[in-house]
Symmetry: C2
Subunit: 361 residues, 2 copies
Amino acid sequence: MKGWEKNIRRVVPYVPGDQPAGERLIKLNTNENPYPPAPGVKRALKEMDYDRLRKYPDPASLALTDCLAAYYGVEKDQVFVGVGSDDVLAMAFLTFFNSEKPILFPDISYSFYKVWAELFEIPYEMVALDEGFHILPKDYYRENGGVIFPNPNAPTGLLLGLEQVEDILQHNQDVIVIVDEAYIDFGGRSALSLLDRYENLLVVQTFSKARSMAGMRIGFAVGSPRLIRAINDVKYSYNSYTMNMPSLILGVEAVRDEAYFKETVGKIVKTRERAKERLGQLGFTFPDSMANFIFAKHEKAAAVRLFEALKERQIYVRYFAGPRLENYLRITIGTDEEMEELYRFLEGYLEEDGWKAQKNI
Amino acid sequence: MKGWEKNIRRVVPYVPGDQPAGERLIKLNTNENPYPPAPGVKRALKEMDYDRLRKYPDPASLALTDCLAAYYGVEKDQVFVGVGSDDVLAMAFLTFFNSEKPILFPDISYSFYKVWAELFEIPYEMVALDEGFHILPKDYYRENGGVIFPNPNAPTGLLLGLEQVEDILQHNQDVIVIVDEAYIDFGGRSALSLLDRYENLLVVQTFSKARSMAGMRIGFAVGSPRLIRAINDVKYSYNSYTMNMPSLILGVEAVRDEAYFKETVGKIVKTRERAKERLGQLGFTFPDSMANFIFAKHEKAAAVRLFEALKERQIYVRYFAGPRLENYLRITIGTDEEMEELYRFLEGYLEEDGWKAQKNI
């Protein structure tokens, strides 16, 4: 090892889902929205003045934060935006988790939490889900340096009711509690309504799922002015200008069109409920997802083989190795047509004798 | 103080230059390029497929890193991209400055270095420039945990020759040395040519200045495969997808058009040299800038008053308070027309008796 190599930080990074190229494939592996962004986004993209690109964007991203504040009915100083909710969450870890006590998050959850904790050397404890994959609020009653959980949880799709979220908050008033609501729009009630009562609550959402903007990298946090000021201070200590001009302009357009947003989300929810029926008929079991994906296990077929067979057929789903997960596939809800192709393939695959033999290898 | 407030990180953030709105103002305060991005950027913006925004961008940003590797004649695994060079530098601090010994950087320099060191709790020492604002390589011969300096330096504009940069490298082979070349294209020789011999060298550049893309937030680092792998690991531990789809597509277009790039840079250099003449005639003195700005002091007029008078006239330049800086203004090189307006205003201002009286208040 060379002298300078000892100064390099050692980390085990998060591994994102594949981004395979090609037009004909069916991509159900990264929880993207199968529908395009709002039509206003298309229009704004065409009308964008490229000459303005030579200037720095607004470092405070006010066009976008003001628009989100109006949409969600909070004050302007209660919103923070970042380069996807990953950027917002990373900044939040750095800003809010500075206790010597361990932060708490579920053991089966968004796997980035552990990565951020290790990157920033934050002590943490992972709290086991119950056998049905549920988060139990009482497991979060103990002393800690902060709490974070997704609602609905990923990759299970299970939703906590607002009462349960508040139960966790009531028992954690001395630390900062982050509710990661990447998937809340697909059937959950947001913790935003609890902000008035809990100054230590930060709600994080994203444009990547319900708003069809994964390619733009926009996420946001809503919280008390005190929390938002603190995370802004850290952001200005890291990168003054995180949001580029297109993301500010197109982000505003995505928020403006509420009718399109509701229509798109409605279609995905309908397809998801239909998927629950069809997958059930095919012999799959799954937690009752309130997100835009289903975390499914087959009574007979091994998940990893099914994953490989689907991939060969150009249908990409997500497989996570590891205890309690290795029999499951996380299947993003696509269009009705994409899902029909999935069911057709599964029918054929499960009828063949092949998978039975393979299962016993 | 509430219980949870003690877990909040305390920082003193960097304060970016004003981004005043309005069409008629002359903006010479944040070192933006006065010319638009390459024509290919305009075309690509119009042709961009908005439907693709629903999908995640390539987390490895290969289109852009490959294109930069080809342009600069390095291997594909030697390039890293981020959300402006601030993002790249912040990641680099986090990745490479993990020694218990202090890192070194000039005392008059990009003021973000100190902010990052404090954010990540990296010990640091600021090395004084000489009385002519020069970086002296011999001041960097002592033991340290890493070295970073801009070349040309900001806000002075002074350039180190390649031999001097190599001198610093030769005396710092056990730590990582970062050369921040945000302004290198305006007259300097890049340290890229030293990469073959120094595996511990990281060269950082940006699209915000010479490439007219401040609004897109694109920066990059070039270094040995070992350094690039390390910073990528940290990036994947922070945010998998930092570069949004438009920045990848438009970034490639900005690199492709070498003729336009050279033409634009040539115009700015010519305007800068003319500015040195005119400012000299007006009674200003300044280090001999090789960047797209001039750091100028007037023999009689107080900088802070001149700054305010210019602002009133809708001409924005940058003023830094603080020892050795408080008599200077940093003036970005604009178009010839913008600079003529500046000279006209200065002529009038300096002829008036007003500033003389004010100076003595």
